[in-house]
């Protein structure tokens, strides 16, 4: 019997596989495909305080082994989420994590504070790294000071554990990770999408309505692994790795590189039951490799 559980300190997961924000709707979209309680957990779509319209279509373009999106965090807002969705998720025996967004530091705090008045959330993931909501892909995660201030502000209004989701669109991700840790973030998740662009040579126009978007999928896995490697050596808090995971061996690679847990994103679009298959594959992998506790993989990279 393989022990797939992992302990993030502030949160015990039955297995290291979480579904990533922005790729799992509000969770309910995946109920037709499998029992959500089999997941380590899932992170719901990003929440602003108010409903958001999102970006002008087209919002998706496929690239080699990847996908560029510019959804722009269209969503129902935190009030509707707490009223209509959260009650349907709160009793699930799995870690339900809310993804917290904001136009400014105050909004992150307002959303976090509002969520904190409700039961059922295992953690808040601060989405300080979406490339699709401001001109040129700017976000707090591009700057250690802004990251520190945002995390600090949220920590002051909530007792729910905080995970900070980082952007790869930076010069030195370790300085941002350290800023989040210093401000009290109990874990770091990375990477969000890579700022990207696709062009139609015939029309000479960008393929996305919003010009630039965020690249995800297997194409970004090596970049994600590199950043998980760097960040897991720069901070003491657990690292949740993501970026292009489609298989159990991808999970193993991320854990060896330094991740305590992982998130599966774009793969959920291709195979609605991707997370489930990955969890089953992880158990098979551990058994065939004589690994009794999956958590022993974390940071076992031999250099």
């Amino acid at each position: 019997m393989v022990d797939l559980s992992v302990d993030l300190g502030f949160l015990k997961l039955k297995n290291p596989v979480l579904a990533a924000s922005g790729t799992f709707g509000y969770g309910l979209e995946f109920k037709p495909f499998y029992n959500l309680e089999l997941l380590g957990g899932f992170v719901v779509k990003g929440l602003y305080f108010n409903p958001r319209e999102g970006n002008k279509p087209p919002r998706l373009v496929e690239t080699p082994s990847g996908l560029i999106n510019s959804i722009g965090l269209q969503g129902i807002g935190v009030e509707a989420f707490c009223r209509e969705i959260l009650p349907q998720l709160a009793d699930l025996d799995t870690a339900v994590i809310a993804n917290v967004c904001g136009e400014d530091e105050d909004e992150y705090a307002r959303v976090a504070e509002y969520l904190s008045r409700h039961n059922g959330l295992a953690a808040l993931e601060l989405n300080i790294s979406c490339p699709n909501v401001r001109e040129g892909g700017r976000c707090p995660a591009q700057n250690p000071e802004a990251t520190y201030r945002t995390v600090k502000k949220v920590k002051q209004v909530t007792s729910i554990p905080v995970i900070t989701k980082l952007s790869p669109n930076v010069t030195d991700i370790t300085s941002v990770a350290r800023a989040a840790e210093e401000a009290g973030s109990q874990a770091i998740s990375l990477i969000n999408t890579i700022l990207a662009l696709a062009v139609d040579p015939e029309t000479r126009r960008p393929k996305l309505g919003n010009v630039m978007g965020g690249l995800s999928g297997p194409a970004i896995k090596p970049v994600a692994l590199r950043m998980v490697f760097q960040v897991s050596r720069a901070v003491k808090v657990p690292v949740i790795g993501m970026g292009g995971i489609t298989s159990a061996t991808d999970v193993v690679e991320f854990m060896i590189t330094g991740a305590a847990a992982v998130q599966v994103g774009t793969a959920n679009f291709v195979d609605p039951d991707a997370c489930l298959r990955i969890i089953q594959g992880l158990e098979d992998w551990a058994r065939s490799h004589g690994v009794e506790r999956i958590s022993e993989l974390t940071g076992s990279l031999k250099i």
Partner: protein, 273 residues
């Protein structure tokens, strides 16, 4: 867990039993009992075209017919995904997700009434299933089938041999009415007026049809195409501007659509206005 009943499944072993091909156009017949049983006209499938990660995403393809465990899709090779799909052979098994989306409404009051079904190019795909079900509901469907040339209306004889009244148009006059399918619809409207009009095809065709329908006060539903990430409402990538219940906003084509009442659709030109 809940006891909700869901109406979509992943069939990882849908067996391709027949491939029919004419130029760029392909008609695939699968054995996929569960999806076939659940499918309604206007719904679509997300079809996996590769076993690896390239191309990464499934392709949204209209359901052409569903009957007795059989599921048919009709598609045009339009890019790398559909090209890979077109290479599949009878005996291959494919991974299909479906049926997805909100299809056409077949209303009881259609019984005994004339219904127009207008398809442009590959937009003909869902109209066979629709016309068949309209017939079963006691309505009289007439299919309008337009293409650029005779090569773009490969399903003409297939539709006719199924006993469906089919009026064909080509832009170059190589087959049927010489001109746009919308002109053919207008010409026919001078003689008879349908109780309802369904359409699927290029944006320009549907926008013109919407004008015609509004002028002549003909209600209708149009099926829209969109680039899709997942097909089941998780990615919010396929949205289209829709005017519904007094407000205009982005709705998911994959869930709220692909079929929308024509008066709710905001056409591209209006979008910036």
């Amino acid at each position: 867990m809940s006891s909700e009943i869901y109406n979509m499944v992943i069939d990882r072993n849908a067996r391709l039993v027949k491939v029919e091909n004419s130029g760029d156009y392909f008609l695939f017949t699968f054995e996929s009992p569960e999806i076939s049983r659940l499918a309604r006209p206007g719904q679509f499938l997300m079809v996996k075209v590769s076993t690896g990660v390239q191309p990464l995403l499934r392709r949204p393809i209209s359901i052409h017919n569903a009957e007795n465990s059989i599921l048919q899709i009709f598609f045009q090779v339009a890019g790398e995904g559909t090209r890979l799909l077109s290479l599949k052979k009878p005996g291959d098994t494919l991974d299909l997700l479906g049926p997805l989306g909100t299809g056409f409404s077949i209303k009881p009051e259609f019984s005994g009434r004339l219904i127009f079904c207008v398809g442009g190019g590959r937009g003909i795909a869902p109209l066979y299933f629709l016309a068949r079900k309209l017939n079963e509901a006691g309505a009289t469907p007439v299919i309008f089938y337009g293409g650029r040339t005779a090569a773009d209306v490969p399903l003409k004889t297939h539709l006719e041999s199924a006993g469906l009244e089919t009026l064909t148009s080509t832009d170059d006059g190589s087959l049927g009415f010489h001109g746009l399918v919308t002109s053919l619809v207008e010409k026919e409207l001078a003689a008879r007026k349908p109780a309802f009009l369904f359409a699927c095809g290029p944006e320009a065709m549907m926008e013109r049809l919407a004008e015609i329908c509004q002028q002549k006060r003909i209600p209708g539903e149009f099926s829209l195409e969109s680039i899709m990430g997942c097909g089941f409402g998780a990615c919010w990538g396929c949205v289209r501007k829709i005017r519904r219940n007094g407000r205009t906003g982005y709705l998911k084509v994959c869930q709220e659509g692909p079929v929308f009442p024509l008066e709710q659709i905001v056409w591209q030109e209006d979008e910036n206005g």
